[in-house]
Point group: C2
Chain length 429, copies 2
């Protein structure tokens, strides 16, 4: 136990300002928790002039990274610059100097997990990253520690607030994807280039981290299926909600099926009665199933200045309370023998076909489906519009994804089919 813990912060952006504000507001609470003095000794950023709207002692600010890396008094380095470089170099150097590291950098962890973990272990320092998934939600530590008596069977989470906001608005207000995206951009909930969020890449990076913790397995991002929400139309949302009693959510899924690990990110139909269907707006929620505990869910703000700062500072306090704790993330001897190819998963599917409203069209489609061993739970053509384009909605029974893909490919080659068929996987508990 030390008398004082010194913290260095690299990156004085939005989250960095949140960390400073947390220190400003709650330092007393934090010091009492740890039983020692805590000092935010140095903040390094390229820009130390711009006012971040939080009170900060000018003498703490520096543009020289070595003021943190080479200061022997600094125990913990918070990295909040994000991205791969120079974040990675700074983190590895900090570890080389014997400093513990707290980061919210999901991209870096998802890409360089093994190197970062090894460097931490080689230097006997801790690496904590609660803020990297689910923002302020207490999530990674509960999964990794509180549930350590469990083999995790399944994780599925809503871990991107932008995508969830868009799907929620489409559902609640009957608006189209483009309209909602524009509104989200105006409100600052979506970036000007929203690809990273709406196409599932952000979710995929976070899922890599969840998969390490839940299954002790590191999976590279190009090794699993990632699909976004941009093809979802208002008519999908409406049909799924009103006719099926389901919701569409962009889910990160990682689960064991027959000894193989399924890792996938895609829009998913889930029963509206399922608690995760009630995770709305920019909020995040992660639903876990352990073999001993059964299902648990953690919910909260998945992003934002102050929520993310809460997790970052929580990690700092945890390190101060136990600097010796080894970095054991995920079960060591994983049950996972293989990552399942997306083509080998089994699921029910929702499909929206856009066809010419003519006699025989359904017969042609059902013929193809049956040849691929796909049976139907329901078929629904809600509009009649003889000779014009209409949507047909199908729900299949459990089918193999590779059969679905082949069938959809054949279906889309039919003259009567006027638009690429959309298919969405259904998740049942």
């Amino acid at each position: 136990m030390k008398d004082i813990y010194n913290v260095g912060l690299i990156g004085f952006g939005t989250i960095g300002a949140g960390v400073v504000e947390t220190f400003n507001r709650n330092l007393n609470l934090m010091e009492q928790k740890v039983g020692a003095k805590i000092k935010l000794k140095r903040i390094v950023d390229l820009d130390i002039e711009t006012d971040r709207g939080v009170a900060v002692d000018k003498n703490v600010l520096s543009t020289d990274i070595n003021d943190i890396l080479e200061d022997p008094e600094i125990d913990i380095v918070i990295e909040l610059i994000g991205g791969y470089e120079p974040a990675k170099t700074f983190i590895l150097k900090a570890m080389g100097h014997g400093k513990h590291v707290v980061t919210a950098n999901k991209a870096l962890l998802a890409k360089h997990w093994e190197e970062i973990l090894k460097t931490a272990n080689d230097n006997n320092v801790r690496i904590c990253f609660e803020a990297s998934v689910g923002g302020g939600i207490p999530l990674l530590e509960p999964l990794n520690e509180r549930l350590a008596a469990n083999h995790i069977k399944s994780i599925y989470g809503i871990i991107n607030g932008t995508a969830n906001y868009i799907l929620t608005k489409m559902t609640e207000e009957g608006l189209d994807f483009d309209e909602v995206l524009k509104e989200a951009q105006d409100k600052g909930y979506a970036e000007q280039d929203p690809t990273f969020d709406i196409e599932g890449h952000d979710t995929a990076q976070k899922l890599i981290i969840l998969t390490i913790l839940g299954f002790g397995t590191y999976v590279e991002q190009d090794k699993f299926h990632v699909e976004g929400i941009s093809k979802i139309k208002q008519e999908d949302i409406e049909f799924i909600k009103n006719e099926l009693g389901y919701s569409i959510k962009l889910l990160a899924i990682s689960r064991i099926e027959d000894g193989k690990l399924e890792v996938r990110v895609h829009p998913t139909l889930i029963s509206s009665d399922h608690l995760i269907a009630s995770v709305n707006g920019v909020f995040n929620g992660v639903y876990l199933i352990g073999d001993i505990v059964g299902p648990v869910m953690m919910y909260g703000p998945g992003a934002g200045m102050m929520p993310t700062a809460s997790a970052v500072v929580g990690d700092c306090l945890d390190i101060m309370e136990n600097m010796e704790r080894p970095n054991i993330y995920g079960p060591k001897d994983t049950e996972v023998r293989e990552i399942k190819n997306i083509e080998d998963i089994c699921s029910k599917y929702y499909m929206r076909l856009t066809v010419l409203d003519k006699p025989g069209v359904l017969h042609a489609i059902s013929g193809i489906l049956s040849r691929y061993d796909i049976s139907l739970e329901s078929v629904n053509q809600r509009r009649k519009n003889e000779g014009r384009e209409v949507p047909i909605f199908l729900i299949t029974h459990e089918a193999l994804e590779k059969n679905i893909r082949s069938a959809v490919k054949e279906i889309d080659e039919l003259d009567l089919v006027k638009e690429a068929t959309l298919f969405i996987r259904v998740l049942e508990d």
Copy 2:
């Protein structure tokens, strides 16, 4: 770090059998997590003959408590006999022998918190009790550690599965309280004497523990308002759901209002859009608001053999990973200066009055309410039945509880009022 950790289990009931089963199934996983051997060295119970349905080495069983208390090799004692005595004596003695303690005993903690904590600290041992509130849900540690950078502003939770099951069934199936209670008893979800669960006493004990962790304040059970669900009728549920878009939940509430702490257990109206309204059946959910993080919720199985065992064993692993951690529960320097009397709270209220359907009845009632400064948001008499008893449903604007109580007392003295008026507090975020 030791090579082997020995655990002693006191109490081989349902949860105890769950702990044994967890050791049987997942010992390998647990040992890898901790990096040492783990042994369930001794199980003590008065009855060591009855088959608990789990595999257990006969040599591990004993009826002599001293086989645990006086065995110097045992590092951690799990207490699962419940109740006050002999549980308390055993726990204090175990601590006196330098053993760390894990317990799920909410009754004991709620009553003797200060003595137990002091004894643990005097003996430099840890006391862990994750399973005492919310069963298997990772809840207390996240609140106490992960959110340690936050001043907690508000906690409200559904932490009794029996009461929640009954309210859920009444809501979903339109049944009356007595019918559902009987069904719950038949299914084993409710005790033959259900008082402890349905009148809120179990919830109150758990709330005491949550209040320690959230606000650093110990409140005795007879110092706060505790009210159960037995007066709720199907007509309340129905009106609240269909006309108001609200749900009734038995909530444990602990929150700071104007520097004073409100601690209360009672049925509560909460908007059906609120995530906690989606916590159904025997499940538990606790919603927390921190000043930095904002709102978070943890959800899962609040009771049961295996879920509770998951939390108990999780505590054991946590102790093995850090035997030196001091017992710091809740903020040290609490913001709380005073516990607010229930009469001083401010709330909206739902009221169900049973009156004779006669001209003038509403005039009489509204006169009383207005004299007590209570204004109405809505009044609803859905049935006409001239000269007979009918229910009237009222929603008030924000009012002081003491005024509500005085008004209800006067109203219930009117000749036209035929049954004690029910009032239920409304919780708004």
